[in-house]
């Protein structure tokens, strides 16, 4: 298993750099992962990450994009409830990139 080092500690990650253990996650670690993805975390970014983590806690899966869009629209105003806005926040894809930062497993599309 590959690992990622942060603050002198080894964290297990998968082949694509996603944390293996959900409980390893911390805000600091998220910041660190974001940096490796060239993302500067803002409140808006955190809003997404927090929602993802909450949703995952409840459903054991990352939400569909359309659920995420709707939720962000609810919280941050309808003008931001769209995929375009999410892609501005996470150019690597709100599902893939944001999940990585949120410490969730890599989302599976359709299987």
């Amino acid at each position: 298993m590959p690992t990622m080092e942060f603050q002198g500690k080894q964290y297990e990650i998968d082949e694509d750099g996603y944390l293996v253990n959900l409980d390893d996650w911390s805000k600091e670690l998220a910041d660190h992962i974001a940096k490796t993805e060239d993302i500067q975390m803002t409140d808006a970014h955190w809003e997404v990450v927090n929602f993802l983590r909450d949703y995952y806690q409840k459903y054991q899966i990352a939400p569909m994009i359309k659920i995420l869009v709707k939720e962000i629209g609810k919280v941050m105003g309808p003008e931001k409830g769209n995929t375009k806005y999410l892609y501005e926040l996470y150019p690597g894809g709100p599902a893939k990139q944001a999940c990585k930062i949120a410490g969730l497993p890599k989302p599976t599309g359709c299987v």
């Binding site: 694509d16 409840k58 054991q60 899966i61 569909m64 359309k66 599976t108 599309g109 359709c110 299987v111």
Partner: protein
């Protein structure tokens, strides 16, 4: 792993020249972006697959279990005794090469080992060396070779570069079906723990939670609830699906991708609207919440274990018959395997459409009806009020899924539906549809992201045909009846033919369906305004 960045014009430069050296002397090269990650041991352990271990395909050492050669050869002997197809297809190929340029992976990669005949020879050579008299005596002259670690790697690499689409078998003069051979090859790799994550994960999830995506019961209801909200937004009508309801007439089973991945979700909305409009007495199940079967891409036994849920749940709920959603390999399994594995379904009744009274005479034993058969019958009997002009902005073509085309023969039903819910329909070139249809490029559990180059190369042939009708007839929508198609063709179209969207047939039905008491529709099922209705909101 480096990100896959090759552009379409780079990828479509394909070298079809085989190497100078013979194929037995050309060792396999495991290339980035052409294979999927290894399965995680914990996922294999969930279902009790043997020899689960940590390994990486591009490592030199695959940490093979002790005596792996013996395990594989014994496995092979066992399979030869169980499947006439396997034994026969090992023996009778004359290597005429008619299959070679029929394979989408060969067309897209030019790699000679992706010619079905050669992909089969990888296994056949070891079969000859160990199970035939000529091979044992004449060795290489008879095309025989030993099973070595390199041969095994070659097997693994190429058996996970075949989507069991059966196109080769249409053209083979003896009907040799590479899908059968790949299935055997994958059975063998599963004996020594060499599965891929993208298959093992969904299999484990499906076993424990009922579906590939691992949607738990409350996730399913919340997701469908979400669709119900959207349907209300679009039509003003609130539909009321039920879950795990005993005494319903019909159990509805669809691939879980339709519940959680775009654009399959729109197809699911189409089902919900249709069933509501008909007043169908049906139920969803959270336990049998998967029509697809990734077990089918591992071993026969695993496929049977996952499939067993459908009949078991139908029995528990006491339904009369089962209706199945749009999916490709799901229908190969249901049509050709389910009754044999888990039948007889004598606790069910022979399916009759409660709306038209039509008896579905082609499924009197398995008792499971394809939704395209069901809907085509409704339309034929004039039971649906349709407004095809709502889809007038779409120029539609239809992609036959491999499994429904070549492992079933469901060709006209979806076309009939499309012609009734859309005004513009254009077929792709003759040699790329119906039984000659091309795979999306990512079937049999190869729709991961780390093997993107393989997927796009595999999807080239299909995309090329779409591009043809896109450029000549302005086709902008690729309809299909398969959940994997919906997900993977979207990626493939974005790459090869931008401007073409992908949709399930029942999404188009949902758009055209005029529901009793609906408000004037201004949005389609994707909540996008219909052209000309942008300002009405």
């Amino acid at each position: 792993m480096a990100k896959f960045t090759a552009k379409p014009d780079e990828l479509s430069k394909i070298d079809f020249k085989p190497p100078k050296k013979g194929w037995m002397d050309t060792p396999v090269e495991i290339k980035e972006h052409m294979f999927c990650h290894a399965a995680k041991p914990k996922e294999l352990d969930v279902v009790g697959f043997p020899n689960a271990h940590e390994w990486r395909p591009n490592d030199e050492d695959w940490k093979l279990p002790e005596n792996w050669e013996k395990t594989l050869l014994e496995g092979m002997r066992d399979l030869l005794g169980k499947y006439r197809s396997f034994r026969l297809f090992m023996d009778i190929c004359v290597r005429c090469g008619a299959c070679a340029d029929k394979c989408h992976f060969f067309i897209g990669t030019g790699d000679p080992k992706n010619m079905p005949v050669l992909r089969a020879e990888l296994l056949r050579s070891v079969y000859r060396g160990n199970f035939t008299l000529a091979g044992k005596i004449l060795r290489k002259i008879a095309g025989a070779r030993d099973l070595t670690a390199n041969v095994l790697k070659e097997w693994w690499y190429y058996f996970y570069q075949c989507t069991e689409c059966r196109r080769c078998s249409v053209f083979c003069p003896y009907g040799i079906d590479q899908a059968e051979i790949t299935m055997m090859g994958r059975e063998l790799t599963n004996l020594i723990g060499l599965n891929i994550g993208w298959i093992a994960g969904p299999v484990a999830a499906c076993y424990m939670k009922g579906n590939h995506l691992g949607l738990e019961p409350h996730t399913i209801t919340s997701s469908i609830e979400f669709f119900v909200d959207d349907i209300e937004t679009i039509t003003g009508i609130r539909v009321n699906p039920t879950f795990n309801r005993k005494g319903a007439e019909i159990l509805f089973v669809t691939p879980s991708g339709d519940l959680f991945a775009n654009p399959g979700t729109y197809t699911a909305m189409g089902y919900l609207m249709l069933f509501h409009e008909l007043g169908l007495d049906y139920t969803w199940s959270t336990y049998a919440s998967e029509g697809g079967n990734f077990g089918f891409f591992t071993t026969n036994e695993m496929a049977k274990r996952l499939n067993a849920k459908i009949y078991a749940e139908a029995k528990r709920l006491g339904v009369k018959w089962i209706l199945g959603g749009e999916c490709g390999h799901m229908w190969r399994v249901i049509h050709q395997y389910m009754d044999t594995w888990n039948g007889p379904a004598d606790f069910l009744e022979e399916p009759v459409s409660p709306i038209t009274g039509t008896k579905f005479e082609n499924t009197t034993s398995a008792k499971m009806v394809h939704i395209a058969e069901f809907t085509a019958d409704l339309i034929k009997h004039g039971k649906l009020k349709l407004e095809p002009s709502r889809n007038d902005h779409l120029k539609v073509t239809f992609h036959d899924s491999c499994n429904t085309a070549r492992g079933m023969g469901l060709l006209e039903e979806p076309r009939y539906i499309i012609r009734n819910v859309c005004n513009h329909f254009q077929e792709m070139p003759e040699d790329t549809i119906r039984e000659k249809t091309f795979c999306c490029g990512s079937g049999t559990g190869l729709n991961a992201s780390e093997n993107m180059e393989l997927r796009l190369r595999g999807g080239l042939a299909r995309a090329n045909a779409v591009k043809h009708v896109h450029e000549h007839y302005g086709v902008n929508l690729l309809a299909n009846v398969c959940a994997i198609d919906r997900a993977t063709l979207t990626t493939s179209m974005d790459y090869w033919v931008p401007g073409v969207t992908v949709a399930g047939v029942h999404e188009l039905v949902g758009n055209a369906l005029v529901m009793k008491g609906e408000k004037e529709r201004t949005q389609d099922l994707r909540l996008e305004p219909f052209p000309g209705k942008e300002g009405n909101e």
